[in-house]
Structures are given as C-alpha cells and as structure tokens.
C-alpha cells in the first residue's frame, strides 16, 4: 500500500541509507579503500548507546551525542593504528586490513560485552507517532529525516565553504596533487575517517532505534547497504552516494510491496546482482554527474 506513511517510511529509510553511503564513499574517494570495518562503527555506536542507557543516568540526547563521538574516535583510531601504516603499501593490503579490523571490532564486542543481543533503552519519543494526513507517522521516522538533512547540510557547508573541505574534495579528485599543494596527507585522511565515523554514529542511533537491541554482528547489514547505495550512486561522487541511498531505499521498499514473499527473501541477492551489473557496465553509477572524471575499473 503506497500511502503517506509508506512515503515517509521510505524517505526515512533513504535518509539513513544516504548517510551510510556518504560515510563509506568519503574514504573511498580519497584512498580507493572500501572500508570493511565501516559497519562495525555502527555497531560501536550501538554498544555505546547500550552501555550508557543501561548504566548511566544521562539524558538520551547526551547519550546519542556520545555514541556519535565514540564512533568518530573509533574510526580515527583505526586509521591511526591500522590503516596509516599500510597506506603506502598496496590497496590489497589495506583491504585485507579493513577486513581484519572489522573482525577485530566485532569479536572485541563479543569478548568484552557478550555474544548475546543486548537491549537498548530507547527514548520515549521513538515509540510515539503523530497523526499527519490521516496516517500514523512514527516520530522516529520524522527525526531520521530531519537529522539526516541537518547532517547533509553541515557536511555540505564543510565541503564547500571551508578550506579543509575543499582540500577533501580535491583529494578525491587527485590525492597526489593535493599533497603537492602542501596539504598534509594525514590531515585529509583523518578528516575523512572522522566524517565516516560521525555518519556511522548518527546512523547507529536510528538503526538501533528500529530494533531496540544490539549484537556484535549488527554491523553487517549497514555495511551491505552502504555498498549497494554507493555503487548505485557511482563510487566517486558524494552527491551520487546520497542519491544512491535514496534510490536504494525506494527500490527496497517497492520490492517489499510488490514482490511475493518467496522472492522477497532473495531481495539481497537481487540487489547485489545489480551491484555486479553496475560495476561491469556502468561503473560511474546510475546517476549522471556533471564532470566526466577518469574512472578505474
């Protein structure tokens, strides 16, 4: 049933997916690295929510902020400790490293906390709805949309108005030349990882907000989403990533409505089949961008 509620739902999902895609692309654009540990940043955010809601009396807004910060610092930490030393070596080494970091973080959570799911106390508003246009719209969805728009706006400001942001975009075009203009490589890369962590952190708030629990493996679905959305949007463009996120959400939601249950299970396989096809035949993504930039692969 495609009604107002469905539209809001899809928009909210798309906002989440867009942020996920952004966090992945911003690193890929500069380093050509597909960060397999990205999903675990969402997991870390989730576990922060769990720990702080379960063991401290802090207000939820503060806790949410903390989750974002912890994700950001985890991301920065992985860059400093694991990725920076292998950066100069080879792309394959970096890819394997990211996979190892992913395993490390997942099992770290397993070890330190528990292999079992942990319930997260959600704020009251996440279970409330508001009546708009004759439909019951969950506040959670509205919040998702609003927060993501704010995040996108902030990111856009950073990238267009500040020198650092311009340097980031330049690095995605041509990293070597950016360094030759005197921009320190480490600064650029750390900033990218920080943004990636922030995005993952924000996503974790609303992702956990849907399930109210967190497990060590909760990072895999967001990672897969980020992959697909990024590829749809053409892996080089930030705008593409955002659009890719929304497009993916629309496709998934429509499939959910129109596909019979038996085929629905294979939804993910279908989407990844599309990923392969895109990478084979249209690597610049399904979205046309303004400049034609040379592509690899």
């Amino acid at each position: 049933m495609i009604n107002f509620e469905f539209i809001v739902n899809t928009l909210s999902l798309g906002s989440l997916y867009a942020m996920l895609a952004l966090g992945l692309v911003i690193i890929y654009g500069i380093l050509r690295l597909v960060n397999f540990a990205y999903g675990e940043l969402v997991m870390i955010g989730g576990y922060t929510l769990y720990l702080l809601t379960g063991f401290t009396p802090l207000p939820w807004v503060a806790i949410a902020l903390f989750a974002v910060l912890v994700s950001m610092f985890t991301s920065l930490g992985t860059e400093l400790v694991a990725f920076r030393p292998v950066r100069e070596k080879s792309l394959t080494a970096m890819l394997i490293t990211s996979f190892a970091v992913s395993t490390l973080l997942q099992n770290g959570a397993l070890l330190i906390i528990s292999p079992r799911a942990r319930a997260v106390r959600l704020p009251q508003i996440f279970s409330e709805s508001v009546r708009i246009a004759g439909a019951d719209v969950p506040w959670r969805n509205i919040l998702t949309i609003v927060v993501s728009l704010v995040m996108l706006g902030l990111l856009s400001l950073l990238l267009r108005r500040t020198t650092l942001g311009i340097a980031l975009r330049a690095a995605a075009d041509n990293f070597r030349m950016t360094r030759m203009l005197g921009v320190p490589a480490n600064t650029v890369i750390s900033t990218a990882f920080a943004i990636s962590g922030i995005m993952a952190g924000v996503v974790s708030i609303f992702w956990i907000g849907r399930s109210a629990s967190v497990t060590p493996t909760i990072g895999l679905p967001p990672l897969l989403v980020a992959f697909v959305a990024t590829v749809i949007g053409g892996m080089r463009s930030l705008v593409g990533a955002v659009v890719g996120g929304y497009v993916y959400a629309i496709i998934i939601s429509l499939l959910g409505v129109f596909l019979p249950q038996t085929l629905l299970d294979f939804r993910e396989a279908f989407m990844f089949g599309i990923v392969i096809l895109i990478l084979l035949f249209r690597p610049e993504g399904l979205i046309r961008s303004k400049t034609s930039v040379e592509r690899i692969g």
Partner: protein, 379 residues
C-alpha cells in the same frame, strides 16, 4: 659438468611440492600415532582448510586480486557433494522439500565429492568471466557481492539446502588419510599451475597489466582459468569438510570462514604455495591453542560472563601486524626448496629470487604508491 639425468633435474628443480607433501605426511603419521581423537580431528579439518587456502593462493597469489567469493564456492561444493552422496532416504529426511529429481541420485563418496567440486567450478566458470576484466576495488566488491549472493541463495533455497536450518545426516566419509591425500594432491596441482605457462602469464599481468597486454597475454582468460580452478579446489575442500563434520548450515560459508582462510594465506605469504601451507599450519596451531585457553577459562569460570571471541581477536591483531610489518607473510615470496642435491644449485631460481628481492627493496626506497607511472590519474 656433471652428467645429469633428466628425471633428477626435474625433481631438483621442483623440490617444493615434494617437501611440502612430505611435511604433511609427517604430520599425518604423527597424528595417527598419537591416536588422540582431538588431535586427529584438528588435523583432518586442517587439511580440508589447507585445500581451501591452496585454492585461494592459486587465484590470489598469481593474479594479485583479492577474491572474497572463495568460501561461497566451498559452500556450493559442500551442498552439491552432499546431494550426490546421501542415500535417497537420508535426503528425504534431511531436506524434506528437496526437488524430486535430485532425490534418487546416489554416488559413491569419491564421485560425489568430485561432482561437488565440478559443480562449484562450473558455477564459477559461468558466472565469473565478465568479472575478470575488473581490477582493484571493483574486482573486490564484485567478488564480495558474489559471496553475498551465494550466501543468500544457500540460506533461502529450501528445496536444495534445507534453508537456514542445519542439514543433518551426512555420512562421515572423510578421515585423516583421505583429507591428507587430497591436500597433498592439491599442493601438486597448485604448484604446477603456478609454474605452468598460464601461471607465468597470469603473474605477468599481476606485476604489470599494461606490459603483459602488450605482449599479447589475454589477462581475462588467464584470470578466468585460475578463478575456475580455485573454485574447483574450494568445492573440493567443501565436499571433504561436509563429509567430516556431517552436519552444517549455510552460515558456515560466510564471512567468519572467509576471515580464517584469508588469515591463513596472508600469514603464510600469499605469493607462494609454501606460504599457503605454512600459514595454515601456523594459524591452526595458534587457533587451537587459543581455543584451548578459551575453553579452560570458560570451564574454570575465571570470567563470569564467559570468554568468547578471544581467538578471533588475537588472530585479527596478528593479521594486522603482519600486514604492517611483513606484508608478504612468513615465507615472503619464497618457496621451500631443497638445494642439497650435490653441486647442482638451483641457479635460475636463485637469480629469480634475488631479482624479486631487489625489486622489493627498491620499491621500499621510492615510495611504491607515489611512483605510479600512470600520469595524471592516480591509482
């Protein structure tokens, strides 16, 4: 000059697989003689893992491409071999909704495992050809996508795999000597692939794709051959493993297993067959040791909530450290060699090894990433 017999020269120049097989034989005999059930189990599984690692080495070591799809083919081989080897009655019990066409098929163990491997290779051959022209990130993502697709299909295609549920009732055909024998054969297969013309050409494309193309090497075909062969080995390992463990679910063929196999290869050294073997041995030893500690801690209730994931944490840290400090693994790019046959030294191989070493050190002198000769577009 010494008078040399052709056969002797052949052996002298190719001591690696013989050495490695001898090593495996030694381990098998020791395990058998010790007679401890746990050790026999560990070694048997280790050999099946070795077949997988060897398969990955065949593709990754020669083509330079990181393939995430490997374990997917293990799963295909496992399920296919089981469908061939189980009796019709067992099949109807374990997979209630199995396609009627598949029920009556019943092959002896060896044939079933072989068929499983062939099915995996067939799927790989059909699916992978267009993917082989991709490189770098695109190649990695597509192989990862393949893994996800295979996984989803295995989990949801009830009528073949019994869905996400565990599949019971597989006969335990794989014993210590079976897996030892097959892994020894696999060593020879992978080694001679590496030394074959296809292997050589493939490595040329790994080192410099443009130069290789300019002398007429068809990169896509070479890669495709290697990918299919590696899928065959993955299916083989999967089939053997299935008939050892006797019950499994699709979740055994996903990211956790991928990590272990990858770790084994990278720790040992992805560019040599010896690396695959050494890595498997080392990682298995470390893993079982850590698991023993984990079990002890859990049984003794040292930590109230239990210790889980400790093994994987240590392994992943070890992997990261290896990538930072010794990215070509324990073996470097070397193979284990026996140079003790009288005065005949393996001169060509040594020169080759020296050249490879020189290239590695000069690549460290000038930052490898920066001196990419690709001009304005950067890698």
């Amino acid at each position: 000059m010494n008078r040399t017999f052709p056969a002797r020269t052949l052996v002298q120049r190719n001591t690696t697989p013989i050495l490695l097989a001898a090593l495996l034989l030694f381990i098998t005999i020791v395990a058998e003689m010790l007679g401890i059930n746990l050790i026999v189990r560990i070694v048997t599984v280790m050999f099946t893992s070795l077949i997988l690692v060897l398969g990955l080495q065949l593709f990754m070591g020669n083509s330079g491409i990181l393939s995430f799809a490997h374990i997917g083919f293990m799963g295909i081989g496992a399920y296919a071999s089981v469908l061939f080897s189980m009796t019709p009655q067992a099949k109807q019990l374990s997979i209630p909704s199995l396609y009627p066409l598949l029920v009556p098929i019943h092959l002896p163990f060896w044939a079933a495992v072989l068929m499983g491997a062939l099915v995996a290779a067939l799927v790989a051959a059909v699916v992978s050809y267009p993917l082989m022209r991709l490189s770098d990130a695109a190649a990695v993502i597509t192989t990862f996508a393949l893994l996800v697709i295979i996984h989803v299909i295995l989990v949801h295609w009830d009528r073949i795999t019994n869905g996400p549920r565990t599949l019971f009732g597989v006969d335990n055909y794989t014993d210590l000597w079976t897996s030892a024998l097959v892994s020894m054969l696999a060593i020879f297969l992978v080694y001679f692939f590496k030394e074959s013309r296809v292997g050589l050409r493939l490595r040329a494309t790994r080192d410099d794709a443009y130069a290789a193309a300019s002398i007429g090497i068809n990169m896509v075909s070479m890669r495709w051959l290697a990918f299919t062969a590696s899928a065959f080995l993955a299916g083989l390992g999967g089939g053997l493993w299935a008939h050892f463990i006797t019950s499994f679910s699709p979740y055994a063929f996903y990211l956790t297993e991928t990590f272990v196999i990858l770790a084994m290869l990278v720790v040992g050294g992805p560019y040599s067959v010896s690396g695959a073997v050494v890595g498997t041995l080392v990682v298995t030893a470390v893993r079982e040791g850590l698991r023993g500690i984990e079990n002890y801690l859990n049984i003794a209730q040292v930590f109230p909530q239990g210790v889980y994931g400790f093994t994987e944490v240590v392994l992943s840290i070890a992997l990261i450290l290896i990538l930072i400090y010794r990215p070509s693994g324990i073996m470097g790019s070397r193979e284990l060699r026996w140079t003790g046959f009288g005065r005949m030294k393996n001169a060509p191989e040594e020169a080759l090894q020296a050249a490879e070493d020189a290239k590695e050190t000069s690549a460290k002198g000038t930052s490898a990433k920066e001196t990419s000769a690709k001009g304005a577009s950067h890698v």
